[in-house]
């Protein structure tokens, strides 16, 4: 294609950070930069050399792996996966960037890279065993990062996160193994290939159990409302880069899993569950907004803000029409960009004033105008100002929700309103008001601007001209709608 030499780009994309991690162990943290640059180069190559998205997969690679158990190392990329790969790669670069001045140990960077490798694997895997493997590889390094480099109560926070997510993982493993055995028994072909397993006819008495297991497993990762116990501590105690990855990339894997595994597997059950899912999403929006409004710690505030936004995404998925799904999937990308930019800004503010508490902050605009301007831009983006990225997704989701059940949309609007409340409170507390603290904080430096400017460009691009992103999502959305309607699903 295009005269390029055909390399297994997807495989390279997944394995390069792992190689980088090993190099970090051996030669120190500089290897991480090389790994990040390699990743960006591969991602560029993947998005340039793509075919028009008519086929299901833009690119598919499959290698023999464990023949005895019918598992293959197969990776497939469609538009949604490409978008999320870009998100992961960008976040990885940003995470390395904000850690650079603060952490020197190679081990820290090795863990971050390993986790990114797992995340990319989750987005690409087309084999259940590989998916599970990557799912775990993604999580554990971040737990170690939190427990080793976090703040005062880091061990507790890390173990809490580990226990929550591991419970989910084990439920998922149990469901996967059951599916594997069921598929093997009915067809005689013991395989972990997603394509085959997702078509397994499951005995009706098992369906609710498996559906429940998988649902809980993925919703823990999002995290959705009754399962969010790990979130505040983990975000608050984590190093900023880890909080950024958790909110920006890992939360997306939960929703990605819902769409890619639960929905095709149990479309009937899904349709029945959709109102509950919408309820969970709306509850998340309101509850996250409520809690964000009363937080003083900026990191916690952004953590709850993230819960609120992800509630919207769940609402869109539950609505299940083309409009809402477009919005939800685009929102995955937009939310990742915005939330990570906000985390970066918190890091910069903390670097200058040494505090993160709203009552102790204020007057940043007058002293560091460029930093203040960017803070304002990303805050406005996160409250859904038209012309910025989150607005596009939000309006699509709300329109879609109105079509299905008007009151979903109405409650969603309340969520938007609340978003304005807590975001403006944050902006007011940080940027305006009396100057606190003695010395004059420096304005944005060039290196710091280099982290934020690309994110700002993406925010404006997605907000003003989302068509290229929507085009990527066309095919995946159509597929989901097809899966839903083929079972006589929602209107």
């Amino acid at each position: 294609m295009n005269g390029f030499i055909q390399l297994p780009w997807l495989t390279l994309l997944v394995l390069a950070p792992l190689g980088g991690a090993l190099a970090c162990m051996a030669w120190g943290r500089r290897a991480a930069v090389i790994a990040a640059m390699t990743e960006i180069a591969i991602a560029l190559r993947l998005s340039l050399g793509q075919k028009p998205a008519v086929e299901a997969w833009i690119r598919f690679e499959s290698w023999p792996w464990i023949k005895t158990y019918g598992a293959r190392f197969s990776l497939g990329m469609d538009g949604l996966a490409l978008l999320l790969i870009w998100l992961t790669v960008i976040l990885m670069a940003v995470a390395l960037g904000i850690s650079w001045p603060r952490y020197r140990q190679g081990g820290y960077y090795a863990l971050l890279l390993t986790s990114c490798s797992g995340t990319l694997g989750v987005f690409l895997a087309r084999d259940l065993l590989l998916f599970y493997l990557c799912w775990e590889i993604m999580l554990l390094p971040l737990v170690l990062c939190i427990a080793l480099w976090g703040e005062a109560r880091r061990v507790e926070a890390g173990l809490k996160l580990l226990l929550f997510t591991l419970t989910g993982s084990l439920l998922m493993l149990f469901a996967f193994l059951t599916l594997y055995i069921l598929h093997g028994r009915t067809t005689g072909d013991y395989t972990f290939a997603m394509q085959a397993i997702l078509a397994t006819p499951v005995a009706p008495e098992l369906v609710p159990w498996l559906f429940g297991c998988l649902m809980v497993a993925f919703l823990i990762k999002v995290p959705a409302i009754p399962l969010q116990g790990w979130l505040p501590d983990a975000y608050q105690q984590a190093p900023l880069a880890v909080a950024l990855l958790l909110a920006g990339a890992l939360a997306k894997t939960g929703i990605f899993g819902l769409i890619r595994i639960v929905l095709p597997l149990f479309p009937d059950c899904w349709v029945g569950f959709a109102p509950f899912l919408a309820g969970i999403g709306l509850a998340g929006t309101i509850y996250g907004a409520w809690l964000a409004f009363v937080q003083d710690d900026l990191k916690r505030l952004i953590a709850y803000m993230s819960v609120a936004h992800l509630g919207f995404v769940l609402l869109g998925i539950a609505a299940g029409n083309e409009l809402a799904l477009q919005g939800s999937l685009l929102q995955l990308f937009s939310h990742g960009i915005t939330i990570s930019a906000l985390f970066v800004l918190v890091a910069f503010v903390e670097r200058r004033t040494t505090v993160r508490q709203l009552p102790e902050l204020g007057g940043l605009w007058s002293r560091a105008p460029r930093l203040g301007a960017l803070f304002l831009l990303f805050s406005l983006a996160s409250l859904g100002l038209p012309g910025l990225n989150l607005f596009v997704g939000e309006i699509l989701i709300l329109m879609g929700a109105f079509l299905v059940r008007p009151w979903w949309g109405a409650v969603g609007m309340v969520g938007v309103l609340l978003a304005a409340c807590y975001t403006l409170r944050m902006v007011q507390g940080v940027l305006w008001g009396a100057c606190k603290g003695g010395e004059q904080p420096a304005d944005l430096r060039h290196g710091e601007a280099a982290l934020l400017i690309p994110l700002a460009i993406l925010v404006l691009w997605t907000g003003l001209y989302p068509a290229p992103f929507m085009k990527l999502l066309d095919n995946p959305v159509r597929q989901i709608v097809l899966q839903l309607t083929s079972t006589g699903g929602l209107p």
């Binding site: 081990g107 775990e136 590889i137 591991l166 493993l173 059951t178």
Partner: protein, 463 residues
């Protein structure tokens, strides 16, 4: 005749090596012991001679030979790891090498046993070696205690085994293993007596494999014995016991024994998990967690057949690799025979020696069953085969206990990475220690990332 001798070659090598090691100078004896074990492994790799008939006591089929390879590798590792203890004059080299080879011989006989007599013989040969090996370090006050704690339950287990064998023989009139099981099935004339005999044998085996409630000796023995001996005890002796249960003594075929096995498995998982939680001593924690792992292996015994045999053996290999790496690392950290057993003593290890911290961390994660380590693949495979054999409740219990296990395996890992005032350089690992640690780390990673070669090797052992 020649065929038989060729078939028994690995055992002959082990035996002659163990005698010869006694006459060597202390400096060379350990390496000689390791070489003998490797030679035995090599002769076991030799393709089966065409005329090899089954001897009445010891099988020479591929599975038995494959097991011999494993035990020999474990024995060689133990010998190579003991160098530091010999130099610190904690161990006499020749005797250690001789006893290790003798113990490995016992394991080889045990896993190749086709008769109740050779089962008894193998188990006693193995245990006899361990009685001495565990208490070998006479300067260590806990060593003698550990030796005694292994000796007394060991003697009880021997008595149970002998009595059980007698009862089974009374009921069935044969010592031959698969036949004795078949003849004890329902409808046999002296069904009850045979079952009583098998129950006693199972109890003896549970002592050796430290299944709850027969596990009480385990933590003290693990703690008191020198780390290389603990490594061999944890990997080899338990492995050999399970090898015989998986292959030639399929007692899970006896339906009345199944509730007993289920109970042993469930109890081991529960007791081991809860007892391991509060530990602050690495060796004691590994002891309790080994009880949990043995509980998982009982699942393989319950599944039985080819699938149980294959998954059980893979689980054994991955468990042994992680255990040998963990205890090997402890041995390589010991100074003058004092091992840093407490978590507090491990603090700051990552800063002082990051590769060793990575290996110990990897071993513990593998035991916890985290991908991409071998432990995950092993659990996945084992739980899959148990689920498809219909042991859903036990699998759920096993999943729960591996959830709990994450907590106790994470604690030493976090300790290693914690900053600590302990300064000073560590002695670099010697070449032999490096070889052993490297070998088992590679197996640990291969088993997690690309286990296909190991699966194929196991499949080639089971016709």
């Amino acid at each position: 005749m020649i065929g038989n001798i060729l078939g028994l070659m690995p055992m002959l090598v082990l035996f002659l090596g163990s005698v010869a090691a006694l006459f060597l100078p202390a400096r060379r004896s350990l390496v000689f012991g390791a070489c003998c074990a490797l030679l035995a492994a090599a002769t076991a790799c030799w393709p089966e001679p065409p005329g090899a008939a089954e001897t009445p006591l010891i099988a020479t089929h591929l599975f038995a030979r494959g097991c011999t390879i494993l035990w020999s590798l474990f024995g060689a590792s133990a010998c190579l790891l003991a160098g530091r203890y010999r130099r610190g004059s904690r161990l006499p080299g020749p005797e250690f090498a001789a006893l290790t080879l003798f113990t490995v011989l016992g394991m080889a006989i045990l896993s190749a046993a086709t008769s109740l007599v050779s089962l008894f013989l193998g188990l006693e040969t193995m245990t006899l070696g361990f009685y001495i090996l565990i208490a070998f370090d006479r300067q260590n006050p806990t060593g003698a205690e550990a030796g005694l704690k292994y000796l007394l339950p060991g003697l009880v287990a021997s008595a149970l085994l002998a009595f059980g064998t007698a009862l089974v023989f009374t009921a069935t009139g044969t010592f031959a293993l698969p036949d004795a099981v078949t003849l004890s099935m329902a409808g046999a004339s002296m069904h009850g007596i045979a079952l009583l005999g098998w129950t006693l044998i199972l109890c003896a085996v549970a002592f050796k494999a430290s299944l709850a409630p027969f596990h009480l000796w385990t933590p003290d023995v693990y703690q008191g014995a020198p780390a290389p001996v603990t490594a061999l005890l944890a990997s080899g002796s338990k492995g050999a016991v399970f090898a015989v249960l998986l292959s030639s003594a399929p007692i899970a075929l006896l339906l009345p024994m199944r509730p007993l096995l289920t109970g042993l498995a469930a109890l081991s998982m529960i007791v081991g998990s809860f007892a391991a939680l509060p530990q602050t001593n690495l060796k004691r924690m590994l002891a309790y967690s080994s009880i949990v792992h043995m509980g998982y292996l009982v699942l393989a015994v319950l599944v039985g057949g080819d699938s149980g045999l294959k998954t059980g053996l893979f689980y054994l290999i991955s468990y042994a690799a992680a255990t040998l790496a963990a205890f090997g690392l402890l041995a390589s950290l010991s100074e003058d025979g004092e091992e840093p057993q407490q978590y507090a003593a491990l603090e700051g290890l990552a800063r002082r020696s990051r590769w060793r911290a990575a290996i110990l961390g990897g071993a513990l994660l593998s035991l916890a069953g985290f991908p991409p380590m071998a432990g995950f693949m092993a659990k996945m495979v084992l739980f899959t085969s148990s689920l498809s054999a219909g042991f859903r409740e036990l699998v759920i219990l096993a999943l729960l206990s591996s959830l709990v296990s994450c907590y106790y395996y994470m604690r030493p890992i976090l300790a290693m990475f914690r900053r600590s005032p302990i300064q000073g350089c560590l002695l670099p690992p010697s070449l032999t220690e490096g070889v052993v640690l490297g070998l088992w780390s590679i197996i640990m990673l291969t088993g997690g990332f690309y286990p296909e070669p190991i699966f194929l090797w196991i499949a080639s052992l089971v016709p």
